[in-house]
Symmetry: C2
Subunit: 430 residues, 2 copies
Amino acid sequence: MKSGLSFLVAALRSEIDELDQLARTSELVGAIGRLVHGLQRERGISNVVLASGGKRFVGELEAQIAESLQLEERVRECFDRLETDPGRLGNGTRLFSRIAWVIPGLDALPDLRRRIGTLNLTVADATAAFVKLIAGLLAVVFEAADGATDPEISRLLVAMFNFMQGKEFAGQERACGAAAFTSGRNDSARQEQWLHLIESQERCFQVFSEFSGPALEAQWLANLPPAHTAELERMRRIACAAPAGVALDPELSAPWFDCCTRRIDAMQTVETRLAADLRQLCSEKTASVREEMAAHSELLTQIATRSPSPSAAAFFDSAPSASSEAAPAPPASNTALYGRQLERAILELVQDQSRRLQAMSDELDTVRGALNERKLVERAKGLLMAHRKLSEEDAHKMLRQTAMNQNRRLVDVAESVLAMADYLPMHERS
Amino acid sequence: MKSGLSFLVAALRSEIDELDQLARTSELVGAIGRLVHGLQRERGISNVVLASGGKRFVGELEAQIAESLQLEERVRECFDRLETDPGRLGNGTRLFSRIAWVIPGLDALPDLRRRIGTLNLTVADATAAFVKLIAGLLAVVFEAADGATDPEISRLLVAMFNFMQGKEFAGQERACGAAAFTSGRNDSARQEQWLHLIESQERCFQVFSEFSGPALEAQWLANLPPAHTAELERMRRIACAAPAGVALDPELSAPWFDCCTRRIDAMQTVETRLAADLRQLCSEKTASVREEMAAHSELLTQIATRSPSPSAAAFFDSAPSASSEAAPAPPASNTALYGRQLERAILELVQDQSRRLQAMSDELDTVRGALNERKLVERAKGLLMAHRKLSEEDAHKMLRQTAMNQNRRLVDVAESVLAMADYLPMHERS
């Protein structure tokens, strides 16, 4: 028959398990961040190779592939470590399912690279393939953020996911702009897509700023020199504010690419710092819970050796701490506690823990709220896929197109779709 | 290096772990339901013993205590089994913390019983002690419902929690009415409390009906013969609709107690059925996931023996199922699949799983929404405790009093309190 204190210790042990798992997950998130960065570079270089008919950047591509392969290896190691570990995250099932989805994409990379090397693929198809793979990797990060059980760690993971997602939109913007400048003209469809990418990026960085804390936000802002931002905005204006169909100077293609690349590389330094902060936070948290547990274990030993026969007063009095009896000694001290004092000390500990867990759970709800937008979009996409028999990509395109046409945010369109669910026919209308 | 399919299997294994844990939790919830029923009876009988100055029901109390002890033993066994088990619920930490809180209450029962046996306690204090202990047990059930990761099981646990909570309000109403009829008069404070207990009960049974499904709801309604309900409502009216302070017939005390007791016993048969349904659902679900896993393991063996070198087409094509190639054979069949077909089959499996998990997670959010009311009340209570230095009981009383005074629901008052949080002073005002 276990005592209340042994469950208090069990709760702490369970918290430590969760933190250990979070540390492994944070490791994975960092590794994914580095791989995504490598794939983003590989995507950019591959596009130049394909667009130039294999005349430019062939050596660069080879070097980048070698680096991507190493980064992929690290991610796969993290995957394997998660799988063999007996500890489970709250949403282990969904995390594993996301990993199961992305691995075939990694498996298919050699074939994708072979096609790019033999120029057997269009720029658009190569880009789409990398975009899909990176989206799959980001979905793993999303589940990691959604499954975190500690609000402070969850906060950093939400910041991390949004930063990585924003960086990916920036990468897509680089590709979109490069294609426009290289072709020497812009059309309204591309302008719309471009503006959408800018807006999505800004939304992501906004959430990042909200959750990352002042130090990281300052680093992020310091990494964006005003002159650099001004140059980016000038080229954006030239391409997007001009009437559709107007000629663009192909000479701007290289400065555009460099400007975007410097920005994306600056993002990676912030991301690296975020990943380091995450690791440190995990180990600090674990250390603090371990300390608490050691203190309680001492108390547990005291109880085991001289357990008094419990009196009803300690539990059933309505407010032990407000009672006229002497306040219990702090639990971590070596003072021997007897009888009622000992009982009260335990009850206070349990109440403190319960209050702390309650506060954590409340804050966790708030932090997770930031992930709801994406969930709503996913849900609306699922609905469209079922009701209109669309592929995932087409459902996403349809939502995005509606958002652009109506000048509304994607999440608002998703909400409208969900609200109108009952009016959607179960089969394709057209 | 693991394949995508091995993570698909890992996701299923994680689902099975969760279901196993849910089965153990459901066992615990059933055992707590039986113990709460025993403690409710013991509370009622103890009150008669105390009120009669030890003249009545002494033998009944002895028999009931023996039964309660046995039921307590079962609950403690379930607690211990949860603690030693390596598997973890999503909210294991909070569940353990709730258990840590309630065990000192169980430990203090012998002393409480000794005081009742020596008539060394008022009826009000004895009632308050049992109410507190039962509330602690119900909090464990609440966490179990909140931590469930399967929406159908979560649905039944939410129904169960609300039914048990409603039954406890019915038990408190029995005690409240018994005190009023026995004393031969009613006052406005007790009338208010009584009406509040009726309303809270109805709210609980409403949520139960919403989540239990038609079969259980029908059984619940069948267990309430109209004549019986009419008798209950008649006595409620006599006591509550009469002007405050009016004399009540003490002769009604026994029929009131019997009528309430028959109703509460009828509730227990519904509760027993709910617990059995829960057990069955858990084992059905586990069996179905195990079957799916067996089918996938077979496919996994096929891959291990003749893994083709993956082509990019399967993963990077936007809609594999809509492609012009032959649809893959169903995965559970023994048809040997080769090359691209095999890859497509795996991708389809992963997509199916991902869709199923998404749908489950959406439904889970909906079901858990039903638990939000209680969370809001708890949060508002915590706020009042911190800002006005109140005990938990006093904070609850304050909320309930406001609800009664303003004729609003408890949850609405809690929401107002939370919305006004910034305006509350951090220290006691008075």
